[in-house]
Subunit: 242 residues, 2 copies
């Protein structure tokens, strides 16, 4: 990559407006074709992928920074965000190796500093996302979680920690943010199965979801399926927030 004038300006801007040594890394989860996906970015002029991320402006909260970064990559106004871990080791990955991969000349830059990263995960509706690269990347797209390649930095590790946090959350509350407004029970079951990594019994799952009291059946059914048309459901917002 040619680290030209615009890049240098970007760096300068970050250095002036943002908090040094600190960054946000985001694991954006989507669910599509019965697979958990994460949104990754391809570094300009390379075939190397990484997580979306960014810096925290001195005038915005950490949550706002995370929201801004995620909004920019997804085109979404609202998204479910969860802080899950701070990655604070002095040496988080082999810096030389990474700089080589992205053709960065270390000596010429201040990038060789350590960075403490606050990890957020986002749960978004896959179909609503408009993947948008940022200043340093030229491609942004979904990757199935189990096909994610070796990433830059320690981003494979961050994805792992995020996935564990997501599983833990699933035990506490049904996850509504990865599905569209209305969905079928089997679709919800596939989602849970995918996150947990093992199959579930349809009858027990149905009972459990009904017993949770957070779902309501709509009058419509999912049309266009090859077989019996399943009912559509949606989460009852009022109850879960009361």
């Amino acid at each position: 990559m040619d680290y030209n004038q615009p890049t240098k300006n970007f760096q300068k801007e970050v250095a002036e407006q943002c908090i040094r040594y600190l960054s946000i890394d985001g694991v954006i989860f989507g669910f599509h074709q019965n697979q958990l996906n994460v949104l990754l970015l391809r570094w300009k002029g390379t075939n190397e992928w990484c997580l979306p991320g960014g810096f925290i402006r001195k005038t915005e909260s950490v949550d706002e920074a995370a929201e801004r970064v995620m909004q920019e990559r997804t085109g979404l106004n609202e998204l479910f965000l969860q802080q899950f871990h701070v990655f604070g080791a002095v040496v988080r990955y082999d810096q030389d190796a990474v700089w080589r991969k992205i053709n960065l000349n270390v000596d010429a830059d201040s990038w060789s500093e350590r960075t403490i990263s606050i990890g957020y995960y986002a749960l978004v509706e896959h179909s609503k996302v408009v993947p948008t690269p940022d200043f340093l990347t030229e491609e942004c797209r979904w990757w199935p979680l189990d096909e994610v390649p070796g990433l830059l930095f320690d981003h494979n590790h961050i994805i792992e920690v995020a996935t564990r946090a997501l599983r833990r959350q699933l035990n506490d509350q049904p996850i509504s943010h990865l599905l569209p407004e209305s969905f079928t029970i089997p679709e919800l079951q596939r989602l849970h199965e995918t996150i947990l990594g093992h199959p579930l019994d349809a009858r027990n799952f149905y009972k459990k979801m009904m017993a949770s009291g957070t779902l309501e059946r709509l009058t419509e059914r999912r049309a266009g399926t090859p077989h019996k048309a399943p009912y559509l459901y949606r989460f009852t917002r009022s109850e879960s927030q009361a």
Copy 2:
């Protein structure tokens, strides 16, 4: 307080060696006389209390910084530490009010900057702690959790979030770090009751603890009690780490 030359030197040292805008706040839990306690510091020349905290040196990991700070306040070499939340709002508390309380002249200092704080809680053995004030404080002592006064900064809020995190942890695993090496079942029960905030049934508790397989009964009993001498138990390290 007289913010004199040593204080200014301290500030200079922090500014040079540590990461700006970022700090550690620690909620150190102890258990004594059937009460959960937290370790608080009294600001020099005032009657205002706050949590132990500190800054992250550029050469140490965030975990190491937290460990260092907690070790300094407790005199302990080993302690159980858990990162639980990042407090990242731009305005976390009424700065003017706090500066007034600690007699700090804002204009003269760089302290008016925002600070992002990484919250850690520590579980320690109450009796082993040697409470030790730091550079800015002149007293360090235990406070029962339910008698904690209004604290400086947003530290009451941080304690609340830490307590919730501690409760969540208790559901997953028995908490061994707040008790001495050997203890009685009723003592362990009081601890659980205190953390959860409600009484537990002694018979069910006993059964559950025995079923967990992480406890072993010692041959000795607790002597010097006014009534029937209870057996001593200890956690079996080997199993819990296998």
